[in-house]
């Protein structure tokens, strides 16, 4: 009886201790990345190369998804709004839902699965093939040389990608609403301009995308650095990056929304 109980308690305790340890290491790692960021700013070439891999190569998926999300919003929004005779508010609906929520969140989710997973796999493989250890042998700090540029590239790319996503989505909504369905173009744009606020909507969306960029990037580089140096370990770390950053994006989104849009 006591044996059985002890086994259960131990089964609860182990994952808790492991999670705490991982969180603590993650925090220490984050501090180390920030501490060793100087190299990234002294040698911007390192960051530019990573912006190419995380940002530029994510452009196609972001632009195409943005366009389609906007087009779907146009169709669905029109279908609902026309029942209340408010189809001229289509522009407001499309732009507000994109700027406030869908732009940062969907772009963040896509960014996590397109760029975050790649960062984790790259750093994990570097660790598995002992490239990071080799760097350390040559007195090159791998956190400064490998991790920090990738982190800052992610932080820089994410707001740009989210803004492009929102802009493409609004154009998609315009194409469906105005060109295909025939909502008046003048009311579409003027209602949008009247209802969308630069600071409350565009600015807060930008703040959200920066926060998501920081979260996804730090999770991606951390999981790569923390990955067990085996093929299996790297694949597991890549999966964890996508799962964790998706959950963190959605959770943070709720918190930020609760702070930003309190019944305004």
């Amino acid at each position: 009886m006591l044996d059985w109980l002890e086994k259960r308690v131990r089964r609860i305790g182990e994952p808790v201790v492991n999670t705490m340890e991982k969180l603590g290491f993650g925090f220490r790692f984050m501090m180390a990345v920030l501490w060793h960021s100087g190299t990234s700013f002294r040698r911007p070439g390192l960051v530019i190369r990573e912006v190419f891999f995380t940002g530029v190569l994510s452009l196609v998926i972001i632009l195409v998804s943005g366009l389609f999300v906007g087009m779907v919003l146009g169709l669905q929004g029109y279908d609902t709004l026309v029942r209340f005779g408010a189809s001229e508010a289509l522009g407001v609906l499309v732009s507000l839902s994109l700027l406030r929520e869908l732009g940062p969140v969907v772009a963040g989710l896509l960014f996590a699965s397109r760029a975050g997973s790649a960062i984790t796999a790259e750093i994990g493989m570097m660790k598995a093939t002992e490239q990071l250890a080799a760097m350390e042998m040559m007195a090159v700090n791998p956190v400064a040389r490998v991790v920090a540029p990738r982190f800052w590239a992610g932080v820089l790319s994410m707001p740009i990608l989210a803004a492009l996503f929102s802009a493409m989505g609004i154009l998609g909504g315009y194409v469906v609403g105005v060109v295909l369905i025939g909502v008046d173009a003048g009311t579409f744009w003027s209602q949008m301009q009247a209802q969308v606020d630069l600071f409350n909507d565009v600015g807060n969306g930008l703040v959200k995308s920066v926060v998501f960029g920081v979260a996804v990037s730090i999770i991606a580089v951390f999981e790569g650095f923390d990955a067990p140096p085996t093929a299996e370990g790297v694949s597991g770390a890549t999966t964890r990056t996508v799962v964790t950053s998706s959950l963190v994006i959605l959770g943070l989104d709720f918190i930020l929304t609760a702070f930003m849009f309190r019944g305004i």
């Binding site: 070439g45 530019i48 190369r49 912006v51 190419f52 940002g55 530029v56 452009l59 732009s95 700027l99 790319s157 707001p159 740009i160 990608l161 803004a163 492009l164 929102s166 802009a167 493409m168 609004i170 744009w189 949008m192 301009q193 009247a194 969308v196 606020d197 630069l198 600071f199 909507d201 565009v202 930008l206």
Partner: protein
Amino acid sequence: MNRRVYDFWVGLFVILGVAALAFLALRVSNVSNGGTKPTYRVTAAFDNIGGLKARAPIKSAGVLVGRVAGIHLDSTTYRAVVDLDIEQGYQFSRDTSAEILTSGILGDQYIGLEAGGDETMLKSGDRITLTSSAVVLEKLISQFMFSKAAENPSQAQPAP
């Protein structure tokens, strides 16, 4: 790929991002609380403000002339006191009347100003005395029903 290719594509990427932000800032949104235009503040007391909110527009003849700065309840008269920020460029006479109107049937409520004929103009700190309250739909319906019932009381009674 050499460094120039990276530089080119990243430059293009940043330009695209700036262009998207400029599009969102200039074409999609407006700066409503930029506060660049100087305003003067007058107050107005209403019996009932309905669903009026802070930052609601103030219009005269349909033109936006300012915004509602704040709303509070006067605890001695139990009337709603509304602070109005009107742009310095628009001057209104002292006997201007303010009423709470609704844009469309389900639209937002705003304050409409109707200019009077007085020579002296409203200045900062003045109070608009001529006000009419928001139309509350429930009161309107009950008034209508009472007046209908008062018109022909014989029909209100069911026939024996």
